[in-house]
Amino acid sequence: MKVTMKVNGRAVSGEVEGRTLLVDFLRNDLRLTGTHVGCDTSQCGACTVHVDGKQVKSCTMFAAEADGAEVATIEGVAAPDGTLSSIQQAFQDHHGLQCGFCTPGMVMAAASLLKDNPKPTEAEVRHHLDGNICRCTGYHNIVKAIMAASGQEMPAMAAE
């Protein structure tokens, strides 16, 4: 079947099967490989994108369900000239990534949190990241980066 959607503001269309996952359409058809598949079992959040402004796991939604929707992926986050968004810059400044595999999902999750809650508490940041798994960082620097991106300092943590 044919699907048409806006991805990062650009109108795109393609032929998909009923079973084609949104993440496969993004990665294989549109070649937007920044959205990662970490688990494919709805647990890790590496595949997080926004559909009509809401964060979803693109491995747990069919491309056909996004027909007519506005989709935002990590590729649309930086400015066209490559300038990083404030969240991305904060991840770099605060070492919020090591291997980087989880980072696209983390950044998309953080963006959706800060849109609804521009000044979250540390606990709210951690709660919001319930569905995003990172095997490298131990999360502290991710939380720090998101706090910094919201213009807040984070008190020193016990593990430091």
Partner: protein, 261 residues
């Protein structure tokens, strides 16, 4: 996944026709898509309920019940069911933000996972489950693990929750799945207390009659002193054995009574 087609009707009537024609309901897909990936289901056609406006929304009816349409996502219930705070709090703690943006009450109740949250809220509140055919009292709806009173192709269209004087949902989280290991929903109504427990029993969500009786006489955590859950019908898995779950049932019930508001 096996191959299938997807239809996206915009009215309940069109969805009923497509399901009668051999389709299976697809709501949030947060359970069904993982099931399809594991090739545990082989539908020929999925009928998405997501674009059906008449199946979405939270409202209050003439009897003061909070009414949630079947394809309403958990996030909306968390945001809009504030008139029944314990219910809003159940929805706001399901899974994670992405799951709450897609997963729906109808999908959760139709699936009746033995560890799911909404079955405890519905049974604990004495809710009414409305379908495209009839109304089913929660006491008659849950029939054991992954089993309900729904007939083949029957669609959950709305769930009506009477609002208790006070209530609370205490969820002991299994951190890897974020489902409850054991969770307890306690609701105090003018005519008695209901206690529904999920995650614990091999027969799915159930009411704890002894606790209900004790709490109806005296709604305090102390009223539960000495009450023990029989471990016999408890689930045992690598996260906890029968005795552990039986113990958690009592602990979480006490906490729910203490925190009820």
């Amino acid at each position: 996944m096996y191959a299938f087609e997807i239809e996206r009707p915009t009215t309940l009537d069109a969805a009923k026709a497509a399901i009668a024609d051999g389709g299976q309901a697809l709501s949030g897909g947060q359970t069904l898509i993982p099931t399809l990936k594991a090739r545990l289901a082989m539908p020929e056609k999925l009928v998405s309920l997501h674009s059906i406006a008449e199946l979405k929304g939270v409202s209050t009816d003439g009897e003061g019940r909070i009414c949630i349409k079947g394809a309403t996502v958990h996030r909306t219930v968390g945001d809009e069911a504030g008139a029944y705070p314990a219910l809003a709090s159940v929805a706001a703690r399901i899974g994670d933000p992405a799951v709450r943006n897609r997963g729906t009450i109808g999908g959760s109740l139709a699936n009746n996972d033995p560890s799911a949250c909404y079955p405890a809220a519905a049974l604990g509140s004495g809710a009414t489950i409305c379908t495209d055919r009839r109304e089913i009292a929660a006491d008659d709806y849950f029939k054991g693990m992954f089993t309900t009173a729904l007939a083949e192709g029957e669609i959950v269209t709305e769930v009506k929750f009477p609002v208790p004087e006070v209530a609370a949902y205490e969820k002991f989280i299994q951190p890897a799945s974020r489902f409850p290991l054991v969770a307890v929903f306690v609701a105090k109504f003018a005519d008695g207390v209901r206690v529904a427990i999920t995650g614990a029993s091999e027969t799915g969500v159930f009411r704890w009659a002894e606790a209900e009786k004790a709490l109806s006489d005296n709604f305090t955590p102390e009223a539960l002193e000495g009450l023990k859950m029989d471990p016999d019908h408890m689930i045992a898995d690598l996260h906890g054995d029968k005795a552990y779950r039986a113990h958690l049932c009592a602990v979480m019930t006490k906490r729910a009574v203490k925190n009820a508001k």
